[in-house]
Symmetry: C2
Subunit: 130 residues, 2 copies
């Protein structure tokens, strides 16, 4: 009889009928569970990379648009609004709002880095975070 070790912890009274089988469960299940979680993490990372790539395409388009129409590259009101919104979204998703804000700042730093690289290469083409 193969029994789940969790059942033991919940007070099931009968002893394992087959200790070898019980050991097999203890040894095999954690590895399978770990592999499953890692597969989920890998899938999520694939989605994150795709979303980040798309986000930079958008910020690059914003930068070109602003340069073309001589709009100011920075927009503090928009950035404030973005941070407040992201903190609320994080809170709803049970993600630490402080981490969400750190994450947005991390992205914005990268956008600024792009902006500076572009500015060094060609005058007038800028990229903004917002």
């Amino acid at each position: 009889m193969i029994r789940n070790p969790r059942q033991d912890n919940q007070g099931v009274t009968s002893a394992p009928a087959d200790k070898t089988a019980q050991d097999a469960v203890d040894q095999i299940n954690p590895g399978a569970e770990l592999a499953g979680l890692r597969q989920s993490i890998d899938n999520i990372d694939m989605a994150l990379v795709a979303m980040l790539a798309e986000r930079f395409r958008c910020t690059q388009a914003v930068g070109k648009l602003k340069a073309r129409y001589c709009m100011p590259p920075a927009d503090p009101a928009r950035e404030k609004q973005q941070i407040a919104r992201l903190r609320q979204l994080a809170s709803d998703a049970k993600l630490d709002p402080d981490f969400a804000e750190k994450f947005l700042n991390f992205i914005i730093r990268e956008v600024i880095r792009h902006h500076e690289a572009i500015a060094r290469q060609q005058d007038g083409v800028t990229e903004t975070s917002s």
Copy 2:
């Protein structure tokens, strides 16, 4: 006649029939285009927050699993594999692979921060990045 300013740049020969209308296009379209791009950025940020929240749920489950079965919290081989995979995914998506690696390290630092906070609160429950 309202004409798109981009058409002018592509060598359309006829002059604008109505300069006022042309000016209106120049003034109104950039704002609408900017609003559209910002809407895309906001949608992407919503997806990023959801994916990050789900990723931390997975790493937390990995941490609990490893603590329960006394598996080592760190796995350098797995981390090396993750970095190589993420760099390749980034390259395919035309995202800077160096940025993708920095991003993964940023996430891992947060996971370690969680791990340290948990370790301070209760002995034996750990969380890993992988």
